[in-house]
Amino acid sequence: MKNHLLCFLFLLLGSMTALAQKRVTGNVTGSDGFPLIGVAILEAGTDNGTSSDIDGNYALDVSDGATLNFSYTGFASQSVVVGDETTLNVVLQEGVALDEVVVTALGIEKNKKALTYSVTEVGGENFSAARSMNVIQSLSGKVAGVNVSSTATGAGGSTRVVIRGNSSIGGNNQPLYVVDGVPMDNTNLGSAGMWGGKDWGDGISSLNPDDIETYTILKGNSAAALYGSRASNGVILITTKSGTNRKGIGVEFNSQVRTETVIDRLDFQQDYGHGLNGAKPTTQAEAMEQGLVSWGGKLDGSSVMQFDGVARPYSAVGSNVDRFYRTGTTFSNTLTLTGGDEKYNFRLSGSALNNEDVVPNSGLDRYNFTVKVGAKFSEKFSGTVGVNYINETVNNRANSSDAPANSNYGVQTLPASINVETLKGTTDKLGAIEDGTELLYNSNVFITNPYWTAHQVYNKSVKNRMIGNIQLRYDIYDGLYARGRISMDRYDRRRTDLLPYGTGFQPFGNIDERSNNFQELNSELILGYDKDLNETIGLSVFVGGNTMTNTFETVGGSGNTFAVPFLHTLGNAGNRSTIYNIRELGINSIFGSAEIAIKKAIYVTATARNDWFSTLTDADNTADNSELYYSAGISAVVSDLVELPSQIDFAKVRFTYAEVGGGAADPYLLSLNYGVFGQGHNGNPLGGVASGSIPPIGLVPLTSQELEFGLDLRFLQNRLGVDFSVYNKKTLNDIIAAGVSPTSGFGSKTVNVGSIENKGVELMLYGSPVKNKDFRWDVSFNYAKNNNKVLRLLTDEIEEGANRETIRLEESRTRSAYIEVVEGLPYSQIMGFEYARDDNGEMILDDNGLPTRGDLVPMGTGVHPTSIGISNTFSYKNMSLSFLIDSKSGGYIYSATNAYAYHWGLHKNTLEGRETGIGAVAAENVEDYYQAIGFSISEQFVEKADFIKLRELVFSYNLPKSKLGNLPFESVNIGIAGRNLWLISSSVDNIDPESTYTSGNGQGLEMFGVPQTRALQFNLGIKF
């Protein structure tokens, strides 16, 4: 703070006049009411000062109208103008200190003032009571510019996180996760697509929220540049808790119980039942054929034949969703031991999480163990070692999208007149008939009985993961230091995917056993020098290098046709095949960084990094496989340099530019490869082109450039703060697997000319409208707007009048909507077919009076450009109540659920014309009209996906010490929280606007996923 004062000294010098002296006394406390000892108190513009005593008291003779500056390490400084009073009590606020140190790239700690880019820190404690089972979903709505999208895939599903928009056209768009210095693989191990399938989960969801100290979000290229190519989508640094220097062993126990219930948003018609042509079925065969179509007669309570040959009343049966799904429960318990002295500290934790998901018979069990030890071997030599071991088992992940073995499809498409519980069957085996095979309820065997799916179809994945690192630091001499680190992220995963004997569409069953090994090893060495050269110039530089190798290996076997019925082992299966795959890649890097601090108010930073990519290295090693890139930035603490109005406590401006280079994500792209099938056919080996993508010629590294400007302002004794960023980010020479016509023989082609731009603003406002000793109201508001535009796709030059270039990312099962990257438009466009219309906008009907399909056109992006989060916390003594409102807008969704609802006659819109017909279409053929729309005209099903949700509501209570009495507890905290309690506003019918079935790049498609849930949780934290 010396500089700060010096500043004031000079600036105020000219206006100084002789003033009367008076004595001011007072008391300095922290916001918790405890006295602060040794607070520096200086009269502004003078060297007149004192410090507070052991009780926080001080006394100082000052001039009339003087300004007193209170400063204390770890607390925000405060300036108070002395008025008429002679007693001046001051409360200093923790946490918003301007000398706050944050962790930046490569784990280098920096003064927040020095940062030339945007960094947001979120403390792990912010999530404690309301935390989600999945750590990263808890970030939703909390940080401007961080777009968290959950998927409709159940407890073990993956999450999509995108920071500052999608910046890669076809590659990974999610941030790099770094846990205590270890890059953690977040690969989604498989997701649902147009043909169905399940989300096999990602990596980050496996961490235990209780172990996390802080999340540090490095949003832009400048922040991330030192991490290299993989950080061009931003970095989320996760710092786990450490042991501390303390007396005795600290014991902490945290327990949480959560219940989850599904929200049935299906608002389907309840007036007409199963049947066809306006009539109900009369035979069992007819009921089977019409088991899924709601084009029957008006529900009149009369007796009707159903698929099982039983006649039941022809009337609406109520919510099948509520009947089928169960209440999910999760128990989560963490026990932590911490301890340490001046030389060593440690933290040990163990946790168990046991979940039963809302989809019957599915759930997740996770066990996390962490060990973290810090040691100071000598004055100069220190180190840490940390190991995080995770064992995670997920049973029966639910399918989404297409119908086979997708219980969500089965439940959600039932006609109003069919009770899902009739699909259980009459035997003890759910969803089966007497002989143990599937109870079919409609003639299409691919639409599986949901009870069969939930209780007989089976899948399981077990993941064992170890994230470990060791880091040593040696302070060589006078600010010169060396730091070495070896880190490893490794997991093996076993999974079984079984279609049992007797499944309708696979009568003799199918089994797929698979084992994956992942390993990434990083070795890093840094040599650095930190020194204040003199009063005005400080220097902080380092150089270093890193080698990374990454391996993913798959071994598996599959087979179908079980010889012995219901004996579901690979050995009992026929038609067996084996699988073996390996992908290996590496990146070698050198890097350096220099920061010059001028008067601790102006900071100039520059970094450079050179990467060599194995994925761009060809067989003769002549290809361009390396890229050098750099960043440069400046930060100026204006409030330390010039006099600002007294309402402004702090003002900083920053400006930075950075480039990050990147290689191809996948190895082996550069040459055409042949696969050989040694078993062959009748003794003749088989071999064919294995490459599905056209090998590229002349691939070069891609470049991502970003310009960022920011402001950091605090007003009114830090009661109000503003953090504002504006950025312009552009990716050049993006490496894209571009979709090509399959008539070329290939599905895609790797090209290297793509360019995509993200321009946006991020605003965070935070303040404390009310703040006194007992009561406090904190508000935080964040707003982000990202304008994304695809500038160039496949060719260097855009031909005049040529068709717009597009790349297809995803296709809906209805085969009438696609997610494409379209030149000139925002990423992830929903491409759909319009209604054919004449010049007056009237629908063109065909000879039979049916709507006809028009052109395939872009209908909006599946990625929300705008997000807003508003969080309010009310604290009264030991209690606090907070809520978070999360809103996203500007994106669209194509709802295949609604398309199917048209096709099957479930949608309320299909009521029109059932009695009267529509135009030339007779009443009994009205299904032709709606089916002409269902899988053909996608315009009808593309809707705005805007929403406002009450994401979190949390009540937390710290039992006062007095209440703890003789109990051996240091503190007890009780929390009650709700998640996703209220969908305040949504513009989509029948589905939740956050119902996408994949966390992949192609966002904007939805189809029969696990319904969204509402969670209530109770949390108990005890410290001994």
């Binding site: 060589i476 003799f508 290098g545 795959n581 050198i590 050179n610 088989l686 071999g687 070329s744």
Partner: protein, 500 residues
Amino acid sequence: MKFSKYILLIVALMMFQTSCDDGFDELNVNPTSSPEINPQFQFTWVQLRTSGGRYENWRAGLIYSSMMMQHFASTCGYWTGDKYTWNGGYSSSLFDRAYLEQVKDMQDLINTLETAEASDPTMLGMAKIWRVVIFHRLTDLYGDVPYSEAGKGFIEGIDNPKYDAQDAIYADMLNELESGINLLGASGGFGSGDLIYGGDTNQWKKFGYSLMLRLAMRLSEADASTAQAWTAKAIAGGVMESNADNAFIQHTSGPEGINQNGIGQVLDAAAGFGDDCPRLSNTLVDWMTSTGDGRLDIFGVTPVNGGAHNGMPNGLDETTIQANPSGTTKDDFSSFNPLLVKVSSPMVFQTYAETQLLIAEAIKRGWATGSAEDHYNNGVRGGMQQWEIYDASLAVDDATVDTYLAANPYDDTFEQIGWQYWAATFLNEYESYANWRRTGTPTLTPVNYPGNATGGTIPVRMLYGGGEIGLNPNLDEALARQGMTTDFVNMMTVPVWWDK
């Protein structure tokens, strides 16, 4: 300071040694695949893939072609073919799969053979003939298709091939057949890797000329003079002489799915693929019953519910079947014979019977010499006796054929030849459908199912994959040339070029 010197040394080493890319060239080679392939392995692969997977055999082959041809009928909602309703994915299924699974490796192999230092003309000849097998099915079903530029994404860097006009495709395919046949030598070839003839070049020659005859006759309505010239050349060259020359691939039940017959993967209940939807059409059953054709017991089995063979009328659904006088559930009707649709069944591409029937037709047209009746009779004999390759129990002796021919003598009509061709191509549904469109024989009575996409006429083409719209800029030109739009649902009535 010793320690710090050591660290400095390591940093220096890292910067100047590991910073380079040592070993990356080897790291970026896929250890599980090969940079080159033995042409024989690839030819076997292409043949097997041409036989096809479950996907397109089910959709374009069975659900559309076999049902439009009234070999089969069904009341299942998704067996849409005999009702002429629209399903884009079914319609385009061969188009969607053939280029990726057949054309890609076919072009790659031909490129390898053409650029090899030590060339093997016999191999190249077989490859060229097989390429025609692949492409004539595509153009017959879809009209103008990518041909000259297709499958060359890697070889020539063509991402979005142009669509060639069907007349140009046919002209080139006929030339390619001729050049392929001429390349066949006494030695070389793929040996046992040739799943059709085990490398027998004589049989390949006969197959090449038989295929030439098929292609030539396909042009009978669109370009008679070309058709006549190539027909003459094919017959002069020497076509198949008996069922021993038939072109088929013998499938096996394993070890993997690729070894299996794609039709078997739909209908072979014993192997776990029990799509029980199709029943024999009454068009088939009634014709065979009326002529005393013993093939009825080869093609089908009598109804589950008992009684004699009974064919299901086309165009019924589960509701309308209830008022159907000949049977009210599918089990009242004859089903397909499981022996023909095993996963280990052969997949037939062309037979002696077809060839003889085409010659009979050519003679009738005056494009060839000889006795039309003799060739017709040969065709009938071949057509009745060709099923024993599926199962020895399906063998038919000469006496049975003689009796049939005596009862149903040659009547010198195109219609009669058409019926026999239609019967001989049972389960080779792409060919059955193509020949029916060309000749209009046999006369099939269409149905007019509510909501059909053709106005109650049998569709005369299948449509491209919807994925081509907006992706391949050359599609628009092809559609305009054929008088079509992207409103594919209403395009099944637009005939292909040779279908006049």
